[in-house]
Symmetry: C2
């Protein structure tokens, strides 16, 4: 008997999201430089949970309520925030056991756009193997959702989407009729032999470098630094990699 | 003295168009399978002009007014239309000297979205060399606008965007800080050694094949069949390749 495979799609921009939206989807949010890499690092470093908020006003309000707040727009730390969006901010000494409110230019908005879905998880190179393993275990359609940059296509998010899509397709539990899957897997295979070199071509590398914020790029492109799979549950991001019966 | 270069961008979906829109742009509309290939073929075959209309209702109204009408949705010829969207419909015997009203699922909508721009021209492999030459002559920013499929990313439109972008960048009259340019040029270089084979992977190939409409794919991927550069002027598409002082 032929096994029924689950649908795999890649959404290249929030502007296209409504064409891919399906309540049955497991949605993987991808914002490699830097939000989803940073979320994985923070949870690996012992953050109790992260409250993603979409707007600056919500982040400011949470700060007044006494939360530790990470918030940036266009790479700049907002004046009321404790820190911005670099994964190096979230060291164990600072974040262990803490609840953190988090708002970024692109990544946190996507989490809220996809809130209707069966599950929302956070993807980055830091947790790619754990994430692929978790997704393959679920037996459900997967949408890899690139946060991109202000709705434009983003090279680094797409290359990661291709890396993850390739692993899911290799499991033979998924099938794709989505051109964005085809293109992202092909771009990943071009980038793979020298990922850091390839991402030098990305517009986001230039944006970060112009603000002196590109020190974290190599870190954000380094695979398998953690086994956490952050998921959005009850308005918070918590690790569910080890959960039984999700 | 360093020459000032013009901006080159690729827009991968109509859903992202407003992020790229600029009144100064020369906009190249791309809908390889099949609208923009067909428009180039029709004008090469002697059509006097094409009136692109966005909606089915407009097309039906024009038919009542006595125009020859080409109109399709999702690959199906509309009942009132003279023919659909295959380039093989527009033979010299049928179309020479005629004015044709034309409405398709994706391509004609984009022409109207970009109507604010400095100029709108039609791009396909059929006219790629003439088009590149014309664009390089204009000294203005260029946006290559992929019509895609119902706002989703489209492999064949993106590969063409890469082929055209590569020629424009090689002229050294253009510069790009757009990740969609980078990705489309890279995908074009992957596809180039066997373009027909590569496009077999596209979702649109499957859509056309399921309706027996994939007979035109090789034709639509064959470069330099014509020197026409169709442009949208006074609500009509006419050839402007030879125009002086556009």
């Amino acid at each position: 008997m032929e096994k029924i495979k689950n649908r795999l799609e890649v959404c290249l921009s929030p502007a296209i999201y409504d064409k891919h939206a399906d309540d049955a989807n497991l949605v993987v949010i991808v914002d490699i430089l830097r939000a989803t890499s940073t979320i994985c690092a923070a949870i690996q470093n012992g953050v109790k949970c992260i409250w993603p908020v979409a707007t600056v006003d919500e982040a400011r309000e949470k700060k007044k309520q006494g939360y530790m707040v990470a918030s940036e727009r266009d790479g700049y730390v907002l004046d009321f925030a404790d820190f911005g969006n670099s994964p190096f901010n979230f060291t164990p000494e600072i974040v262990k056991g803490k609840e953190i409110v988090y708002s970024t230019t692109n990544g946190t908005r996507c989490i809220h756009m996809a809130a209707h879905s069966r599950a929302i998880v956070i993807g980055s190179f830091l947790n790619i193997s754990a994430l692929a393993e978790w997704l393959i275990r679920q037996n459900a359609p997967v949408l890899i959702f690139c946060a991109s940059w202000k709705d434009r296509f983003s090279l680094e998010d797409t290359v990661f989407a291709g890396a993850l899509a390739e692993r899911l397709l290799q499991s033979e539990k998924f099938e794709s009729q989505c051109d964005a899957v085809t293109a992202s897997v092909d771009l990943w295979n071009l980038a793979k032999p020298d990922l850091f070199g390839y991402i030098q071509k990305s517009a986001q590398k230039g944006r970060l470098a112009s603000k002196g914020l590109d020190d974290c790029i190599e870190f954000c492109l380094t695979a398998d630094q953690t086994n956490v799979v952050p998921a959005f549950i009850n308005d918070r991001l918590v690790d569910i990699f080890g959960e039984k019966g999700f």
